[in-house]
Every structure is written in C-alpha cells, then in structure tokens.
C-alpha cells in the first residue's frame, strides 16, 4: 500500500513543478483555514477606503472613548476617532511589512547565502556578521536604528530586513550545501553538466521548500516587529494608525473603554494564527515528501 502511494507521489513531483505542490498545501485542512484567515485580513486592509465608515483621522466632536454602538461598531478613541476605521487602515502598514519588507529581507538573505557557498572567504565573513546581527535582540536592534534614522515605516522595514537576512542567509547556505552533496547532483556533475545549470535545475528548486516554510514564519515575525515597534513608539508616526499603536492606545485607555483594544487585538491574532497555520501546512507538506 505504502509502496504504491510512494510511487505515485514520485511521479507527481516528476511531472508537476514544486510551485503547484506548495500551493496545494493551502487548499485543504490547516493550510486552507490559514489562507482564509490571512485572506480576510488582507482584503479588509486593501478595501479599507470602501469598508471604513469614517476617515482614519477624522475626529468626531464630543464622541471620545465611546463604547461600541451602531454608529461606531468598535467604539471611538480618546480624541473621538472611529476605532474600526483606524483598525482597517492600520492593517495596511502590516500588509506593507508582510508583502514587501519580509520578501525583500528573504531575497537578500537567500542571495547572500547562495553566493557565500561559492567563495570560502566570503562564507566566513558572512557567517560572522550574521552572528553579530543575531547577537542583538530584534527589539534592541530596532531601538538602536530608530536612534539613528528616526521612527517611521521605513525604519520598521529596515529592522525587518536586517532581522530576516541572517535567518534566510543561513537557511539557504545549509540547504544549498546539503543539496550539492546529494547523489543526483554528483551524477549530473559526472555526466559533465556545468555548475550554473546544476544550480538552476537541481539546487534552487530543491532549496525552495524550506525557504517557503520559513517565509510564512518570517511574515508572522514581521507582524510582531511592526506591532512591537509601534507599541514602543518606534514605528509609524501618529496620527497614522497601525495595529501596534492602536493596541497601545487601547491598553492605555482600558479603564475608560475596555472595548477599544478588542478590534486591533483580534486582527493581530487572526493574522498571526493564519500565518502559523500556513507555515505548518507547508512544513507538513515538505516532511511528507
């Protein structure tokens, strides 16, 4: 029984490309739930101008710190702005972080890791500098960078890229070195394939799998870094809303309006859990094969 299924999956991978199978992980079970959760948040952020009942920085006079009502589904903040609208717009910062900063960091890290496997001196230098970056806790790194370049969305992006480059650099390096030693690469080399062709045809496709799993994890780390930095006042500058700064304001005003914090908290939880489910589905998929 097991022999039969193994043969068929082997055939599958031989005919189909890696990309289709990693999308397939998102079409059922945990992966589907995760994709739906993340998709909902992404849609809410993209459609913020249509969905939001008010402008994110519109102050409604005399409506400070109201409890949820028909007019303001999630209540209002301390200067009378609609929390629902601010939450929807706040998601956009996280979308920027998830879909631009994290992939950028991942790409730079992977390329560095790949290049490092070709030159020994570069490898040593890169490993040591990765050690050094990893010796700073991410939040401390964020604080130091904010001192130098000031708070803002670009500071968040820089911190995320700096934090992800060593992670992806190491992962790619290990993956490439492992694949290069596998029998089929030796076989390809033995029949006279040149290194560039081996890299494109064998090494890169087989390294992609651990990298996609890590990418989903890195995205949830990105959400964490954005939230933490904005929470500490190192991220987006007011009055621009972000999920982290909304949670901070919500906690500070909890005595007057305990419902304030519920909306942004739910969004962060849904986003993080969705990304976690996706990464687990991808990891389970790659373990199966």
């Amino acid at each position: 029984m097991s022999v039969v299924t193994e043969v068929t999956t082997d055939k599958d991978t031989a005919t189909g490309s890696d990309r289709t199978s990693s999308w397939a992980a998102l079409r059922s079970g945990r992966g589907l739930v995760g994709a739906v959760l993340v998709g909902l948040v992404v849609l809410a952020g993209l459609l913020a101008p249509i969905l939001a009942p008010f402008a994110p920085d519109q102050q409604i006079p005399g409506a400070a710190l109201q409890a949820p009502s028909g007019d303001h589904l999630l209540g209002t903040d301390s200067v009378g702005r609609d929390v629902l609208s601010r939450t929807l717009y706040g998601i956009r910062i996280d979308l920027l972080v998830i879909f631009l900063a994290v992939p950028a960091g991942a790409a730079i890290g992977s390329i560095l890791g790949l290049v490092a496997t070709r030159y020994h001196w570069l490898d040593t230098a890169m490993q040591r500098s990765f050690d050094l970056i990893l010796a700073f806790p991410t939040i401390i790194l964020a604080i130091a960078l904010t001192m130098v370049i000031g708070p803002g969305v670009w500071t968040i992006a820089t911190v995320i890229i700096l934090a992800e480059v060593p992670v992806f650099g190491r992962l790619t390096r290990t993956a490439v070195l492992t694949v290069r030693q596998s029998p089929y690469v030796e076989a390809a080399r033995a029949i006279g394939a040149d290194e560039g062709w081996i890299l494109r045809r064998h090494v890169l496709p087989n390294c992609l799998e651990p990298l996609t799993v890590q990418l989903a994890l890195a995205m949830s780390v990105g959400v964490f870094i954005e939230g933490a930095m904005s929470f500490l006042g190192l991220g987006v500058v007011p009055p621009t809303p972000s999920l982290g700064s909304l949670i901070k304001e919500g906690t500070q005003n909890a005595y007057h309006s305990p419902f304030f914090v519920v909306g942004p908290l739910t969004v962060v939880l849904v986003l993080v859990l969705g990304l976690l489910l996706i990464s687990q589905a991808l990891a389970a998929r790659s373990r199966q094969r």
Partner: protein
Amino acid sequence: MIRYALRRLPSALAVLAVGSVVIFALLRLVPGDPALILAGPDASPEALAALRHDLGLDGSQIGQYFSWLAGILTFDPGRSLILGGDIGSLVLDALGNTLILAVSALLVAIVLAFTLSTVSVILDRKWLNSAVTAFGTVAVAIPNFVTGAILVVLFGVVWAILPAGGVPRKGFLDDPGISVQYLLLPALCLALPIAAALTRFLTEGLRSQLAEPYVTTARALGISRRRIVLTQALPNALPATVTVLGIQIGHLLGGAVLVEAIFAWPGLGHLIERAISTRDYPVVQVMLLFSVALFVLIQLATDLINAWLDPRIRLGGRA
C-alpha cells in the same frame, strides 16, 4: 572541560569586540551634537569645549572609543546626559527589577514546560497531547504585547483582581503577598512564549527518546512508564532543551523591553525606552553593549552546560 571552554572563548570575545565597535560607531551617526544640546544655544565656545572634555567627546574617535571601553571595564561607564546621575547606578537599579521579573518568568516557564511535557508523555492521552501541542505552537506565535494587552484588560480592568502595572511601592521584600500580585501578570506574559518553546522541544525530545532501544529493554524489564520517562528519557532529552532555553534567555531582554513597557515595570527595558525617547545616548550605548554581552555570555554558558551534560560534545573534534 576547561580545554573546551578555552576553545569556545576566542569567538565569543571576537563577537563582543566587533559588537562594541559597531555600537560605538552607530551612535556617532546619531544626528545632533550632545554637548550642544546639553549646553544650550547660548553657551560660549569655552564652556562647550569644557563640556565636551567632561563627556569624553574630545580627541580622536579611536581615542574616545578606547577611553569609553576602559571606563566600562573598570565599572565606570560615565554619566548620563539627561536622565541624571551615574550610568552605573541607573543600570544597577533597573537590573534588580529586571532580574526579579526575568527569574520569576523563567521559573514559571520551566515549571510549566516540565509539568506539561512530562505529564502528557507519561499519560499519553490523545486529547492531552493535542492540547499540549496546540499550546506549544500557538503560544510561541502570539506576540508579547498581545498577551500583555489581553492580561491587562482582563485581569487589571474588566475583572480587576490584580494590579495592571508597576512594582510594589515599599520594595519586593516588604510583603511577599503583594509582590506576587504585582509579579504575576508581567511574569506570565514574559514566560508564555518561553514555556511554549520549551514544552514543544521537551515533548519532542521525550518522544524520540522513548523510541530508543534502551527504553524497550527497560519496558521488557517491567519498569513503569512513569519511571522510564522521569529517570531515563528526561536526562537524555535535557541537552537539546538546555540549548532552546539558552536561546530563549538570550531573547529575554528583548521581550522584557515590551513587557516592561506594558506593565510600567521600571527595569532595563524601561530604562532603554526612556533613554531612547530622551536621546540620552551614553546610556543607550552602555545598554546596547550590555545586551550584546549578555547574549554572548548566555550562548557561552549554553555551550558549556551542553558540553557538561553530553560528553560527545566535550570530547568531539568539532567544537
């Protein structure tokens, strides 16, 4: 053992040395002349020069670096610009509060992780296993500031049974009952992700140990599952767990910054945050170096404990 320690030492020192140069250089890039900010716009050139000398900002950059480093090595890290007072005493005051928080969080995390993983492995019930696995994966992923906000709003405001922040006014030793109340929420908030990571690794470690042949032998001898897990599998699963614990302790300071901000806890994280917001850069410089030193030290300690627990690492050719 000593030989192993000596072999690990140079690379740790190298990271520390390069780290100190990077920190020093980074803070030279901060816009604004601290002497000018401190003296005010009306200060005479002589007063400015005197202040620069006082702050150790005269002379070449390399000279400044070494006098800064010498100051730290002789436990005299200099004076704070804005927060006031000696950096050494500022750091020491904050360090005490952070240590109390960190040690309590670690204790909570270790007790939680060991109980959950040993109980779930010994009992081996399906529902318990999936509950523990869910805890191990979900609690790692949820950011500190989210759990912190939930804890504050739930237990500090909605069902107000615990203080939502701060430290006991008369110190921690005055009334242990009150101190525990103040500690409970921040320690739990800091402990949850650590406990989750530990639980996951320890449970996996115990399971893979139980698949080993020596466990089959022990079982054939009629030894109970509980005893096998506690006396045989647990010690063998420890080295990997210690590594995870070391990594988690290394991230503790970063986590503490957030948790201290949420719960208004006057520790190192709070000090860093205040120093940043007031641009008190000598304090920031010392704190950054401190955090790197802490990380390097913890990594070294982790390696040494592992070498002590597992002779294969200690005697192996690859260090």
